[in-house]
Amino acid sequence: MISLLASSNAVASALAVFVAMFASLLLLAIRAWSSTVGLPLGRRARRLVDASTTLMVVLFLALVVVRFRTLG
């Protein structure tokens, strides 16, 4: 992890962007599924899912910006 963050090229790699995108999509799918089927999630659990999703989307956008700046 440390070696990954050590270089902007590594952070800007397609793999990093893809993993962040995939994780965001997974969290979004969980959010959509739980609210559609009416899963009785507690308030804390729902907030945790929402916060994780937001964090992962922000991380994805940050990685995209770094990729543009590094390679573009």
């Binding site: 397609a14 962007v17 893809f18 995108m21 965001s24 999509l25 979004l28 799918a29 959010r31 959509a32 599924w33 609210s35 559609t36 089927v37 009416g38 729902r46 929402d50 999703t53 989307v57 994805f60 956008l61 990685l63 995209v64 990729r67 543009f68 390679l71 573009g72």
Partner: protein, 609 residues
Amino acid sequence: MTANSRRPPANLLDSGGSLLYGFAGLLLWVVSVTTADFSKMGPMGLVTVVGVPFFIGLALVAVSLTIEINRIGSSDTRLILLTLILVVYIFGTSSAIAPVASLGDSWLHAGITKYILSHGQVLNGYDARFSWPGGFTLGAVLVAFAGKVNALGFLRWFPLIIEMMYLAPVIVIVRYSGVHRKAGWLAVILFYATDWIYQDYFSPQALNYFFMLVVIALTLAFLQPIRDSIPTGIFGQAQRIIARISSPFSRSRALSYESVPVESSAVTLAVLGLAALLCLASALSHQLTPYAIILALSGAYLTRRLGRPELVVAAGLFTVGWLSIGATDFWLGHLSTIFGSVGQLSSTIGSNVTQRVTGSQSHRLIVNSRILITAALYIVAGIGVLVRRPYTRTLEALAAAPFLLVVAQSYGGEALLRVVLYGLPFTTLLAASAIMPHQSGIFNRYLARLRIGFRLRSVTRLIVVALIIFGFAAATFAVRGGNDAYESFSLGELAAVNYTYDHIFKGQTIGMVIPYLPLGQRDVGSVGYFLAADAGGTPTIPYVRSELLKIRPRFIILSASQYAWGRIVEGYPVGWQISLQHYLLAHGYIIVGNWRTATVLRLTSSTTG
């Protein structure tokens, strides 16, 4: 005035009358296209070869649609049938008259499809379109499925087929838009009758427009507004307003109107999954449409018509993700292509509008008419916004959302065209609402006392609706085919191109004045092209001559379409291409192929470098 006196006469709205007029119109269309002479096309394009029966037939179709919309007990099946006849009129005529497919880009797209089919991969560094290969890959799959060797068989009738495919999602959008049935069907008709934007040729954008319509149709159909308890009184009103403003950003969207799934959770999840899959397909296939989908979904979300944010975020992730990872070859080293025009609104509008109003009188008339049609539609739609009393303002948001694209990108001078296209289903719904306004929603009309809409006597109303449909349809047909004098091709031009491909070797270049040729369908990546008028300077004839001799391409194709372009768009003198040909013959070229509408010149061996 009593209700009976406002009702149209029964014989006028006879159930069989509409179909009779419609099929009579279709018959006249067949007569028109079979007697039209493609070779006699004038500078105004397609409209110059169809003749009077064509417009009589179109008027009959407009009358038949008007009757069927207003008839008591009108049938959806009949309206679909009659709308398809209108679609044939506007989008099938060029395909029926021109001997081969129009628009050079469609031929190039067939070439890209062929490359993917043959090589099983994209060609990096050749064309930006290879960075969004989804649509071409689907085309390659269809070519292989049909047992063909290339996509050329799809080109000619593609515009008509794809426009017919748009009908299903457009009807769903209209049905769940909150606009009542008559206005809804008028909107469907206006959607086709005002679509002069030629983006339905064999291309990723045509396919992606279909994806966009389906995603929005799914959203509107499966997530519908329901009425919860609405607080009353002064405090209740304030509570409603606060809830309406803050609701898109809050966890609880309990007050006022809300969109909720109308099907079981399994069906809703499947629909969301399908919509997400379409967003992914779009992100892989086209540069601009995915952003239009994101804006449309955001508009639906902010106006509470899309009850959940997951689809919007997923569409954004797919789009930005593909741009970042999949389209690296496109932006590597020249990010300014993407972000260079952000915020440069005046230059974008300049490149989209003012720079297009050039050329001969006929060309300027066509371009000005296109602007007028769009302006008229937006004015009527604006009246619709003011006088209708809807349940949501989603249509307004969906019509306005694509304009944000203009702020971000000029898209090679085409952004404004695309914006109008992306908003068209909703703009036409608003325009239809001006003609037949809805009066029962919770949102107040902005102009409550303005009595626009149909309070006319019923027969007058029928005449006005028929005139509106005919006027828009005829004008759209005329301006849509207004460039056909140089954007449609003859068999001679195709033969010249095929001759050139048969005799050219790998690494050699084909030269031309401007790429108005059925070119690019073969040898993608192994043959070079040189466009003399597009080499960077002002394309005067001396400039074109000097550029051609500077590069000295192995073959040069001169053609009737290029000649028409020079006369109509650039104002070149009569016979300019013959003088160019003589000039080239005097400077090392010989004629190796000659057809009535095209000539192929080859650099002689002695002058080859």
